[in-house]
């Protein structure tokens, strides 16, 4: 009973904070680019935490997570812009109200998650037969096919599948059905709320019999199967769950307040998948809180370098030395951090442990 009251208290407190952010973030953080960065950090947390289910917990090496995020983003953007256009659901001239977002966000982001998880099933199925690097190639291939299919669409196509693909805007990106921008009604409440909920959900999965079975499977597939853990089932469901989470992340990315209102194929290139893997490995494969830390680290390091690029002194320095390309240097810093980490802490920041909470499974 006391336990129940305490959890209810936590839920209530979280809701209050989220509502506060929903209405107060604008006043709290006047700079919209910083707001955007904070929301983006939450999106990255979702990307990282969901990838951790497949790469960390299930031990399958997927390097095509961007594909699932992208499918979620496009699906949500399409659904959102059509819902927005329909007169009954139109939030009116002054943008989306919070009440409206309760209808629009679950529908559009939910659609993105469902479609992404269907593709997760599609990509998860070969994972039964393929291992290690072969599976990695399949996931990479999937993500690149998705991206290139949209990017290389013939804009002048008039009918059929190519017309449908071309309506997504090709390389220029999708800006809603009417080309007026994707409606941005997912406020901080939704974005931060989803990140917290997803972190919490994967935490619970990890510390359940299900997570235990995944761990066993990763350590010794033959032994795990010999006690009834069906590798097929667990791996495919992991893929579907990870894709579902990625779809939510993508959907919120496409429709988040202070976002661009534009979904472009290049957001979901290999670089993005690579960033996601970096987050997971940096934090510690299999650790939920590690995935969160990794995501925050990657988001803010990248942006920090971008901010540094804007500083006058650095600009001058760059002007004097044209070879000093900080965007390229970003990768060098990444690599340096990763190499240092792999030497000092081969298991990532946290290894498989968690920052706080139970060392073991459900406390009995």
């Amino acid at each position: 009973m006391r336990e129940t009251l305490r959890s209810a208290g936590w839920v209530l407190a979280t809701l209050v904070v989220l509502l506060g952010l929903e209405f107060g973030l604008q006043a709290l953080v006047p700079d919209s680019s910083i707001r955007q960065l904070l929301m983006l950090a939450a999106i990255y947390v979702m990307v990282s935490v969901s990838l951790n289910v497949i790469n960390g917990m299930a031990g399958q090496f997927s390097i095509g997570h961007a594909g699932f995020v992208g499918i979620g983003a496009y699906t949500s953007a399409i659904v959102a812009s059509h819902l927005h256009a329909s007169s009954t659901l139109s939030p009116g001239p002054d943008g989306a109200s919070f009440a409206h977002s309760w209808l629009l966000v679950p529908l559009s982001v939910g659609a993105g998650a469902v479609v992404a998880s269907m593709f997760g099933l599609l990509v998860g199925l070969p994972s039964l037969r393929l291992r290690g690097d072969y599976l990695a190639i399949v996931t990479l291939g999937f993500a690149e096919i998705f991206r290139l299919l949209i990017a290389s669409a013939q804009v002048d196509a008039t009918a059929g599948l190519s017309h449908a693909v071309a309506s997504l805007g090709g390389q220029n990106g999708y800006a809603g059905a009417d080309n007026q921008g994707v409606p941005l009604f997912a406020g901080p409440f939704w974005v931060f709320g989803a990140a917290i909920l997803m972190t919490f959900a994967t935490w619970r999965i990890k510390f359940s019999g299900w997570g235990r079975a995944l761990r066993a499977l990763r350590e010794d597939e033959i032994a795990a199967a010999s006690v009834g853990v069906d590798p097929t089932r667990y791996k495919v469901i992991s893929f579907v769950l990870a894709a579902f989470g990625a779809g939510i992340a993508g959907g919120l990315w496409a429709t988040m307040r202070d976002g661009l209102g534009l979904v472009q194929p290049d957001q979901f290139n290999f670089q993005f998948s690579f960033d996601a893997i970096t987050m997971v490995i940096l934090g510690g494969s299999g650790s939920v809180t590690g995935a969160v830390l990794g995501a925050l680290f990657v988001t803010f390091t990248v942006k920090l370098i971008e901010l540094v690029q804007g500083v006058e002194a650095v600009k001058a320095l760059q002007h004097a030395n044209p070879w000093l390309d900080l965007n390229a240097l970003r990768m060098v810093i990444y690599a340096a951090v990763l190499i240092a980490l792999m030497i000092l802490r081969p298991e990532g920041l946290l290894g498989e442990r968690e920052l706080l909470g139970p060392r073991r499974e459900v406390a009995s």
Binding site: S208, G209, D220, A223, S226, V227, T232, R360, E361, V362
Partner: protein, 254 residues
Amino acid sequence: MSQLDLSDVNKSFGGIKAVIRVSFRVPSGSIFGLIGPNGAGKTTVFNLVTGVYRADEGSIRLDGVDIVAKKPAQIAAAGVARTFQNIRLFSQMSVIDNVLVACETKRRSGLEGALLRSASFLDEEKMLRAKALELLDVFELGRLANEPSTSLSYGDQRRLEIARAMMLGPKLLLLDEPAAGMNYAEAEGLKKQIRWLRERFDLTVVLVEHNMQVVMSVCEEIHVLDHGETIAHGRPDEIRQHPKVLAAYLGESA
């Protein structure tokens, strides 16, 4: 208790015939020995029964149901548990977690239960944990429940593997060289445990073992393989004097 029937089972790996027309019946509730010199095909038979390999020909029946086409996890769920010749524990996991992995087939609450931490999920988890501890106590591992499994001694690791197999709630238990690396006292203890397990859990036990002292004293029936072929079958006292068995183990002149 389950009855296991193999009839005319063949298995080759490339040009090597590992198992050639092997047929035998393990009577329900018996302790059955499967012996033979190194490379006789004993472990291959275990791998065929548990679905790790698929038999080229022949049938393997568990209580009359053919399991040749089934996958390892399905066969495990049908009540066949095993241990491994070269111990395969989940080395990064604690002792009790190793055992708990084996209860996933029995678990009724699904992922949604774990997500919501429903009362039924928590009750079930508690119940399974208690059952795992009980099993660990049987193998005198209860006090080590929260230790990493790698920290266990060799004999304890072998016993933990049996405990893990038993958590599955099997009707047929396949033990692959459980006495390997055990000293005399441990092997004596193992003999008692195998008999006790059979009585306590209504098991059928198949034992692959090189320790003849263990095999001869606990098995009621013994099947002998050599180079993948059956060379003898009978009670321990018959096997002990069987000329072909003596020849296989000691050389032709015997």
